[in-house]
């Protein structure tokens, strides 16, 4: 990654920031943000690991000697965002960091929409970044929610999640702003909502209250009915608790008219704070290219659920509205709806 970015081997930068910089560059290039005049650009990035991957490596040095002092100030989440933003070819007029665990990147998009709608920014780059760390790998392991096999979202015999790493950002702007600079939007963020399960620090409620509230509020925000949704990109981590809880919430929202549903974590692993960004990008790709991604490793339906996920990729389908879920520890549940531009 250092090579891709042209960063010297001895330059102090965390892996989370490297991942973020690569994603930011791609987003900037695709949205042609190199020629934007004096438009105000906000950068909203989610992370939870931040600089932990270096801190866990050098923690003893931090306390006992002066060999690795350069990484002390890079530990916190905000330092990671700052380090990514420095790579932006222009002035970032406002930057901030969201840390709502596995829904961080989705909430970044939600804040982004708020910044645009209230006229506080002209362009927003929103998403998240997360690298693997021993800290959270071991942490998830203490909660006994890791699967030693490839994860099996929505499968009866699922054992847990697989951790992944990554970064993803979307570039957002109001329709008139995009038109004024002749940018061609990919789709519309037609609705979104953030709700709290308020059930347990790490477990989701059996009936998926927070997830249900988030999906319903996002539909209302978009002015859509459940039946309008063509595909749900589920949070679907593959843990026994999440998939059953999210499944019940989806049954409450969609009743017996369940849209296509898949979790794409079989392809990406659970990229935690980046997951909402990665899945926003996958949803936008699905919407614009007309396909439904497959839910890998599914073989048997969960007893208490009435639906099965889409196990084979469906191509050449017409999708108008996609709902994507991002849920985090602490019951931080967010849903976003992407719609085709009519």
């Amino acid at each position: 990654m250092r090579e891709m970015l042209g960063i010297a081997p001895d330059f102090a930068i965390t892996r989370t920031s490297l991942l973020g910089r690569i994603a930011l560059r791609e987003a900037v290039q695709m949205a042609v943000l190199t020629k934007i005049g004096n438009r105000r650009v906000a950068f909203v990035s989610g992370t939870t690991v931040g600089g932990m991957e270096k801190s866990e490596q050098f923690y003893r040095d931090f306390l006992e000697n002066d060999k690795r002092n350069e990484y002390i100030a890079l530990h916190d989440c905000g330092a990671c965002t700052e380090m990514i933003a420095k790579d932006f070819p222009g002035r970032i007029s406002f930057q901030t960091t969201i840390s709502t665990a596995c829904s961080s990147a989705a909430n970044a998009a939600i804040l982004g929409a708020g910044l645009l709608k209230t006229g506080r920014a002209d362009i927003v780059i929103a998403g998240g970044t997360e690298c693997l760390s021993k800290f959270h790998l071991d942490g998830f392991n203490t909660l006994m929610i890791l699967d030693s096999q490839p994860c099996r979202p929505f499968d009866k015999n699922r054992q847990g999640l697989n951790l992944g790493e990554g970064a993803a950002y979307v570039v957002m702007e109001m329709a008139d702003g995009a038109a004024a600079r002749q940018a061609k939007p990919l789709c519309r963020l037609s609705g979104y909502a953030n709700r709290c399960d308020a059930f347990h620090q790490t477990a989701s409620s059996p009936e998926g209250e927070g997830a249900y509230l988030a999906m319903m509020a996002a539909l209302q925000d978009a002015g859509l009915q459940p039946v309008d949704i063509d595909y749900v990109n589920a949070h679907g981590t593959g843990t026994p608790n999440n998939d059953e809880s999210e499944g019940h919430a989806m049954m409450r929202v969609f009743g017996n008219r369940m849209p296509w549903v898949s979790s794409t974590k079989g392809f990406t692993g659970h990229t935690t704070s980046a997951a909402g960004g990665v899945e926003n990008v996958i949803s936008i790709l699905a919407l614009t290219r007309g396909f439904v991604p497959a839910n890998l490793n599914f073989s048997e339906k969960i007893d208490s659920l009435d639906f099965t996920p889409t196990t084979e990729v469906k191509t050449h389908v017409n999708l108008n509205h996609i709902l994507t879920n991002s849920f985090g520890f602490g019951g931080n549940d967010s849903s976003c709806i992407f719609s085709k531009i009519s």
Partner: protein, 85 residues
């Protein structure tokens, strides 16, 4: 056995940080979860770590704990039978 029960009670109070509770406050025959002490799934995970650390018993998944953590007495009986240290 009674000695192991006493020892376990002390360890449970310590590891679950049950502030202000004494060993005699725990009824070794009462359920640890739901009713009784009112513990939850995270406490169960802490007890799994306790068994591994102090008695060398390794459980493969959290569900096995359900039977073992029925009460302090059941837990003590399981430990007596399976302990490796």
């Amino acid at each position: 056995m009674e000695q192991l029960i006493e020892e376990l009670k002390r360890e449970i109070i310590e590891v679950l940080n049950l502030e202000g509770m004494k060993p005699e406050d725990i009824d070794e025959n009462a359920p640890l979860f739901g009713e009784g002490l009112g513990l939850d799934s995270i406490d169960a995970l802490e007890l799994i770590v306790l068994m591994e650390k102090n008695y060398g018993i390794k459980l493969q998944n959290a569900n096995e704990g359900k039977e073992i953590f029925k009460s302090v007495r059941v837990m003590a009986e399981y430990i007596k039978e399976h302990r490796t240290k």
